[in-house]
């Protein structure tokens, strides 16, 4: 391949219903721009003559694909050609519905699309489905190529009928086509040259002119800064002390000295330095960069958070999402099943709460359904196990996009249209404010973990009254302490009569407040690097979630004592008897396995 590097590149995807002539249009473009290897056209024509079949430009693509196997220019999915303005990479997306996931893979890389509709067949199911997917994938520049005009006698009426029908459809999916071009790939009308003789009524652009008038999308640097955190690196080799927040900038820009806030945690710090390798560090990072920076404070953040600038509009945080989903999985997307959502760098367990409208791809009429079948598009409400940070699709498209994992496979994609409340929304909001205003220490969590030779962790022991919670907690504390761990046992009773002395009545609402305050204490003690053992009577899964939301323990181990589990809790360990020696051993093994404590006991 010989792409001259001085021209800009643009990826174009060609989509449309099967047999509407995508390959013919592409083949014709290659031929008419002299982008074919020498003698190729003649060779394919000669082949056709020998086999007594009429020559078609689509055969050119097939021939080029064969040639590519010998290592020269074209591949099965992509081919290249240049105009005076640009180098184009044409992605020929499969039109057959079976290949929708390949179409999505190809189209997602494109900056603009040609959508081919055959004049003789008109708008078909996949014309609409592909149009809809282009919209969801975020491709806003779409030109509609109405092909096979030769088969309808170059009829203006047919052309205008399709324009009317299809523009109505595109409007529903928020796309305004750049143009509707009547062409014949076979004859060559309006591909590279105007067809004034056969279609004098059409005075618009040819396909090539249209390609050149697509706008090369600049990187979205003038929007709010968003960088999903891929990792926080602390490589110690060669005495490297840097703690680098790494990720790819989706939008906006960030410079040294800027105040940066991480979501969903709400933790805040400032950019101390921008890091790089083998080049002098840039003064700022911006959209498209795979970047890394260090912070002035030792705040603890992890993969999955989004870095935003504190002086710009913050992203949303929620655990319930209003979305539009397209489903590619063989099994339908159904409520009651366990999935994972991947958004930015976050990956969180989720379930389908409810299906809203399921769009019929061929006419965009909606129907009511319980689940989403393969190749369907639907409005869905998703329930996440933990909150994620994102933007709404109308505001910042890049950070509104997610995929859904069923088992081991990416089985769907979607965009977020709304953030919804859940029962922990208020608490979460308070926690974010607390984190943002936290008075920072100069000692990092890693420093403490290194010094104490343990990772902070919360062990919750819960169960009915008189089930041996406190006895077990004390035994566990003693063993861990004797082993050199920094450990502390805190019973709910220690909180209720002191910190909670102002709460008089024991009712359900107050119980939640007791737990909230205990969780705030736990948060502080975990931050100090402790392993904490909490005992409380009959905690529910909601109460555990409340503690998790407030204290955000890096690790949490829940243990139920007592023969029968009397709440909806899903404890990791259940101990029915009183063999505390064995229970303590099992807990210690669990802690060692998860790397909370570094040495075996």
């Amino acid at each position: 391949m010989d792409i001259c590097k001085t021209l800009e590149d643009m990826n174009i995807v060609v989509v449309g219903h099967v047999d509407h002539g995508k390959s013919t249009v592409v083949g014709r473009m290659l031929a008419d721009t002299n982008s074919l290897p020498e003698g190729k056209l003649e060779q394919v024509k000669a082949n056709c003559r020998r086999n007594s079949k009429p020559f078609e430009y689509a055969f050119l693509l097939d021939a080029l694909k064969d040639e590519q196997a010998q290592g020269i220019t074209i591949d099965s999915a992509r081919c290249f050609f240049s105009t005076e303005k640009r180098n184009y990479i044409i992605i020929d997306a499969p039109g057959h519905i079976e290949f929708l996931k390949n179409m999505v893979t190809g189209a997602a890389r494109a900056e603009a699309a040609l959508l081919v509709i055959a004049a003789d067949e008109g708008v078909m199911e996949n014309s609409n489905r592909h149009g809809y997917l282009l919209s969801m994938l975020g491709i806003r520049q779409v030109a509609v190529v109405i092909n096979k005009m030769d088969l309808v006698d170059y009829s203006r009426e047919v052309y205008e009928g399709i324009v009317l029908e299809y523009s109505r459809f595109l409007k529903k999916v928020n796309i305004t086509a750049s143009s509707y071009i009547p062409v014949s790939g076979m004859i060559g009308d309006n591909i590279a040259a105007n067809s004034t003789e056969r279609m004098p009524w059409y005075t618009g652009m040819t396909v090539l002119e249209q390609l050149d008038s697509f706008i090369s999308e600049g990187l979205p640097a003038d929007m709010p800064f968003r960088m999903p955190v891929q990792d926080v690196y602390k490589f110690t080799m060669n005495n490297d002390n840097r703690r680098i927040v790494a990720g790819t900038v989706e939008t906006g820009r960030l410079a040294v000295g800027d105040s940066v806030t991480f979501y969903p945690s709400g933790k805040r710090s400032s950019v101390k330095s921008i890091e790089s390798f083998n080049v002098s560090p840039p003064e700022q990072i911006m959209a498209g960069n795979s970047a890394g920076f260090t912070l002035t404070d030792q705040i603890f953040i992890t993969r999955g958070e989004i870095a935003a600038r504190s002086d710009e509009k913050p992203p949303e945080v929620a655990a319930r999402l209003k979305t539009n989903v397209f489903w590619l999985g063989r099994e339908p997307f159904s409520p009651g099943k366990r999935y994972f959502i991947k958004i930015g760098t976050a990956k969180v367990e989720c379930s389908l709460e409810r299906v809203g409208r399921v769009m019929n791809a061929s006419n965009l009429n909606s129907e009511k359904k319980e689940s989403v079948e393969r190749h369907e598009v639907a409005e869905c409400i998703l329930n996440l196990k933990k909150p994620v940070s994102f933007d709404l699709t109308d505001e910042l498209a890049a950070t509104s996009r997610f995929v859904l994992i069923d088992g081991y496979e990416i089985s769907g994609g979607g965009i977020i249209t709304g953030a919804m409340e859940d029962e922990l929304s208020d608490v979460r909001h308070q926690v974010m404010i607390r984190n943002t205003n936290w008075i920072k220490s100069s000692i990092s969590r890693e420093d403490r973990a290194y010094r104490y030779k343990q990772r902070p962790s919360l062990i919750i022991i819960t169960g009915p009254r008189q089930s041996g919670k406190k006895t077990l907690a004390r035994e566990l504390e003693k063993v861990l302490f004797q082993n050199g761990e920094l450990v502390y046992f805190i019973g709910m009773g220690s909180v209720v009569y002191g910190v909670d002395a102002d709460i008089k009545n024991r009712n359900k609402k107050n119980r939640e407040e007791h737990i909230r305050r205990a969780a705030e204490i736990i948060n502080i003690m975990l931050d100090s690097g402790m392993i904490l053992i909490l005992t409380a009577i009959e905690l529910t899964s909601h109460e555990i979630e409340l503690i998790r939301t407030i204290a955000n323990p890096p690790d949490i181990l829940t243990i139920w004592t007592g023969e029968k589990v009397t709440t909806d809790i899903n404890a990791e360990l259940t101990f029915g008897g009183n063999d505390n020696k064995m229970y303590v051993e099992r807990i210690c093994r669990n802690l060692a396995d998860r790397g909370i404590i570094f040495k075996g006991i």
């Binding site: 790819t248 890091e275 795979s290």
Partner: protein
């Protein structure tokens, strides 16, 4: 951002995703220009560090300079360097250069088989001891579940169909017809036990991109790529008996780029000096289905 900056950013993103998602991760380093650029990109991604082992499949027929260069860089960059080999077949002498089997069979035994068993930990791995500079049998025999490979889509037919994250089943097989969807920088990072994922950070790079990046960054490459006064150089590196140099007087990176873009190499395939391609019907698809890189 220019063309090379965009390519670099995507590759770095992919490498970081791989590092965060795969506990048992390694990078295959063939010593050639592509995987050496990939190694450089890893140092970009991790700010001078390479936080996973580099694995080399040593057929014992590699050109001498390649092994010297490998060990020199391993020491200089502080690489966790590991190699694997099909010792049994080499001891039996059942190879193409010995006249005992065909080229393709030799590739299969010395490369595909050695790779498969090195990745799975079935066969011993030899790991560099940085104290002595010598290789020792590695005690870690856990299978690698993420394998970073420097293939490029423009190299030959089967590679153009690859994904950035491409699953392999228990037998190392690749199902070309049913590949995972890949969009919005989201990749297949979940996999069933016993299977693994190949990661391809260089998929979008062309041969010219590779050389332009080598020039831009000043990446050290093995001397075999350059003419040293005899009017020949290697364009693609493999085993000595099955790789021939091309006629070229390009003696530095700039001259190679010039030769690629305007000169006589414009319409000649990069791997034209690699004999196994020709015998595999030109597509390498059969070898690659079997685990070949």
């Amino acid at each position: 951002m220019d063309h090379l900056e965009k390519l670099e950013a995507r590759s770095v993103h992919i490498l970081r995703e791989a590092y965060s998602q795969f506990k048992q991760l390694c990078m295959l380093w063939s010593i050639g220009k592509d995987s050496t650029v990939m190694l450089w990109l890893a140092r970009k991604a991790f700010f001078g560090h390479v936080p996973f082992p580099l694995v080399h499949v040593d057929t014992s027929y590699k050109i001498k300079e390649m092994i010297e260069y490998r060990d020199r860089l391993a020491l200089e960059y502080n690489l966790d360097m590991v190699y694997g080999q099909n010792k049994e077949i080499l001891e039996k002498g059942f190879t193409y250069p010995n006249g005992k089997c065909s080229r393709i069979e030799c590739c299969r035994l010395l490369k595909s088989e050695a790779l498969k068993n090195t990745l799975s930990g079935e066969w011993p791995r030899y790991r560099m001891n940085h104290g002595t500079g010598k290789y020792e049998i590695d005690t870690n025999r856990e299978p690698f579940t993420g394998v970073i490979v420097g293939v490029r889509a423009d190299e030959e037919g089967s590679r153009s169909k690859e994904r950035y994250f491409s699953p392999r089943d228990k037998n190392n097989d690749w199902d070309v017809g049913d590949q995972p969807p890949e969009f919005w920088n989201q990749y297949k990072t979940d996999f069933a036990p016993g299977t693994h994922v190949r990661i391809h950070p260089l998929l979008d790079w062309t041969e010219a991109d590779i050389w332009e990046y080598i020039e831009k960054e000043g990446i050290p490459t093995v001397s075999l790529y350059y003419d040293r006064g005899e009017g020949i150089r290697y364009r693609s590196l493999g085993c000595a008996p099955c790789t021939s140099p091309i006629e070229s007087s390009a003696s530095n990176v700039a001259e190679i780029i010039e030769e690629l873009k305007s000169g006589k190499l414009r319409n000649i395939a990069e791997r034209s000096g690699r004999e196994q391609d020709k015998e595999d019907g030109g597509g390498l698809e059969e070898l690659r289905k079997d685990g070949y890189m």
